[in-house]
């Protein structure tokens, strides 16, 4: 059984193609269900975000499964195979695992270290779980990816610091005012940049927002879309005196607020801090206003410098994050190898169990004279002997360091015990439990069944 990843992301495909194979429009659960129904895989999950669409499968034959996935994409999204094929990437086993771990850690994101992606990976897993399309392989894969994502988040500062101008402004506001719900925001100028920053603040729960512009109609229009209050331009100073956060983004060629204006605004505020975000170019607020006590003045260059610094710091943290991903991939790969031993282990167990049963059957006429408890005891003792004999070989097989050694050992065991190759190989974990469950039945019932 192999792990297979087929997908497209912002690294390989242009946005129009990504939009067309975005699973979220027609439902990730529907996609998972229709994937799981196909015969070429035994487990399936879909990770779908605006920047990627990735399919994770457990498949006995990766080549066949890959072609089938392409067929699925063509069917599901109604697109041409030749359109999508050049943009697909494909990874197997531990490389597929590495990819998912990097995704979960935010290393593969457009903005490195962005925090939402881990939640999106978790969502992908729970959607697939709800469709009952995940088994032991994808369970282990996704859970290890959560571990990798969490470790990167807690052990590195990859996700720290704002990486957009708007978010840098929001995080500054939070550092000055704490909770922002009760604060008042004034937007000066009804342009696009001011609107963007105001939207970010609105998302922080700001309830009171006033908007003013030289053109009253612009202010009124923006105020309507933002659920804010429009204030006439003449009342600018009064509105600012009542605000805590001011966003200036007018197209004016000369400063709208000089130092004296801001000083006058500060008077009635009795030292309450004022945070001015001047994102206009040329600047709307005289830089000298920033010298006033309790005035925090940041212009677009200041914010961009913060963003740049944070981006540099994130890049420096990437090496540590990659190292964590390496460690988790190594753990997962060891687990995968130990799974490779399962068919041999199952065959070995079945072989031993067959011998045990045939010996018990051979002795049946001698045992039939014994009371039922004694017969049950004989069954129990023989079973325990078999278990004990198999314990160490099983552990050793699962701990073998690489697949070549494993296949050498498997060959040797197959020959030594004349195992039937492939016996139980398809069953995976479930087969392991069959002999145990069986042996708990009393010996009489088993005989009654066979007879």
């Amino acid at each position: 059984m192999h792990l297979l990843l087929v997908g497209v992301s912002h690294r390989t495909a242009p946005v129009d193609l990504r939009e067309r194979i975005d699973f979220s429009t027609r439902g990730v659960d529907a996609a998972v269900a229709s994937l799981a129904a196909r015969a070429t895989n035994s487990e399936a999950a879909v990770v779908s975000t605006c920047n990627r669409a990735e399919i994770y499968l457990a498949a006995p034959d990766p080549q066949v499964a890959r072609e089938d996935v392409l067929g699925f994409l063509v069917e599901f999204h109604g697109i041409d195979a030749s359109e999508v094929r050049p943009h697909l990437y494909e990874k197997q086993d531990s490389e597929a695992a590495r990819h998912l771990f990097r995704v979960a850690a935010g290393l593969d994101s457009l903005v490195v270290g962005e925090p939402q992606i881990l939640g999106q990976v978790k969502e992908a897993y729970s959607t697939a779980s709800a469709q009952q399309s995940v088994g032991p392989l994808l369970n282990k894969l996704f859970h290890t990816s959560f571990v990798a994502g969490k470790r990167v988040r807690s052990e590195t500062s990859l996700g720290e610091g704002a990486v957009s101008v708007s978010y840098a402004a929001v995080s500054l506001a939070r550092k000055i005012f704490g909770r922002l719900e009760e604060r008042t925001v004034a937007v000066v100028g009804a342009g696009e940049m001011g609107k963007l920053t105001a939207l970010h603040l609105k998302a922080q729960g700001i309830r009171r927002m006033v908007i003013t512009s030289r053109t009253t109609a612009h202010a009124a229009a923006l105020a309507e879309t933002m659920q804010a209050t429009a204030v006439p331009w003449e009342r600018l100073h009064a509105a600012l005196a009542e605000s805590d956060i001011v966003i200036t983004a007018t197209g004016a060629a000369l400063p709208v607020l000089v130092r004296a204006d801001v000083a006058a605004i500060m008077k009635p505020r009795r030292n309450r801090p004022l945070f001015i975000i001047d994102i206009a170019v040329p600047r709307d607020v005289d830089p000298a206003a920033g010298e006033l006590d309790q005035v925090f003045l940041y212009n677009i260059d200041d914010l961009q410098a913060i963003v740049q610094e944070n981006l540099t710091r994130r890049a420096a943290e990437m090496a540590r994050a990659e190292q964590i991903v390496d460690e988790e991939v190594e753990r997962f790969a060891a687990w995968l190898r130990s799974r490779g031993a399962i068919p041999t282990v199952v065959a070995l167990r079945q072989r031993f169990e067959t011998i045990r049963r045939s010996e018990l059957d051979r002795l049946q006429h001698k045992l039939s004279g014994l009371p039922p408890e004694a017969r049950a005891r004989v069954d129990e003792v023989t079973r325990l002997i078999v278990e004990k004999l198999l314990l160490t070989p099983t552990e050793q097989l699962k701990a073998l360091p690489d697949s070549e050694t494993l296949s050498a050992y498997s060959d040797a065991l197959t020959r030594l015990f004349s195992l039937t190759p492939g016996n139980g190989a398809a069953g995976g974990d479930r087969c392991l439990r069959v002999p145990e469950a069986d042996s708990q039945e009393p010996i009489e019932r088993r005989r009654a069944k066979s007879g």
Partner: protein
């Protein structure tokens, strides 16, 4: 007796510093646990001292310092629990270490003069020690406020920006600590006055009681600190002196308190040297 909690405080100071630098929550939790353990050991030490001398060890300056450290540790742990902020520990715990070193190196004699057996005296010292602990917290919060304020103002968002809570939060914590401290300082001073009047009648000849006046350095400096904190609280309401100015005032106020508590207490006072 005072050395064992000191060792725990030293360990906690190291852990808080490590937490502050690395920002790892797990180290922070260990630091809090070690500090709580130190405070617990300190409680036992004080309990044993109380049993052996028959009263709470607060009568001489040295044991009062140890009691103050104990109160400050508890007040800080309480603040930490209620605000979920551990960043302050790196400033508070070294103060615990520095002050606890005094009783650890120089154990108090604790011969309590008969005139100190009045319950008024116990209330007087206990309120003042609690007030000082609150002022210590306010001072540390004030210092961190100023550090963060400067970083944001200078647009160099770095070390403190990443680690400290918001300015607004620090300001609110500061005013709460100063208010509590001011209340206990007032109670302590008033009760001290009442006790002096009583003691004057009981022990007319004791030179220390005779020296109890507003001109004694210890009392004069205490009144000065009361004036500063009163002004801080008044100015916040009346003329909007919050934030940075309040932070500076509480720092200056605690400087004076500490000077009075240790330096004046050991060397200058004629009235309070018991």
């Amino acid at each position: 007796m005072n050395t064992i909690p000191l060792i725990a405080y030293v360990a906690a100071a190291g852990l808080y510093a490590a937490f502050f630098v690395t920002g790892r929550a797990s180290i922070g939790r260990v630091a809090s646990t070690v500090l709580a353990g130190g405070a617990l050991l300190h409680t036992f030490a004080m309990g044993m001292q109380t049993m052996s001398i028959g009263h709470v060890p607060i009568a001489d300056t040295t044991s009062a310092i140890s009691t103050f450290v104990w109160l400050l540790a508890i007040a800080y742990l309480y603040t930490e629990m209620t605000t979920e902020e551990r960043a302050m520990g790196v400033f508070i715990v070294p103060l615990l270490v520095a002050l606890q070193a005094i009783p650890a190196i120089r154990p108090g004699l604790e011969h309590r003069a008969p005139i100190l057996e009045s319950p008024w005296f116990g209330v007087h010292v206990a309120s003042l020690l609690f007030a000082y602990a609150s002022f210590a917290l306010a001072c540390v919060i004030g210092i961190t406020y100023v550090l963060l304020f400067k970083e944001i103002k200078a647009k160099h968002l770095g070390f403190f920006y990443k680690r400290l809570p918001s300015l607004q939060r620090l300001d609110a914590m500061n005013v709460r600590a100063v208010t509590v401290g001011w209340l206990f300082l007032t109670i302590g001073v008033v009760v001290g006055g009442i006790w002096t009047v009583q003691a004057r009648a009981d022990a007319v000849l004791d030179p220390r009681i005779r020296a109890m006046s507003i001109l004694d350095p210890k009392i004069a400096v205490a009144m000065l600190s009361w004036a500063i904190y009163s002004f801080q609280l008044y100015a916040r309401r009346a003329i909007g002196w919050s934030g940075r100015r309040a932070a500076w005032l509480s720092t200056v106020g605690f400087g004076i308190v500490l000077l009075n508590f240790v330096a004046v207490g050991y060397f200058l006072t004629k009235s309070h040297n018991f």
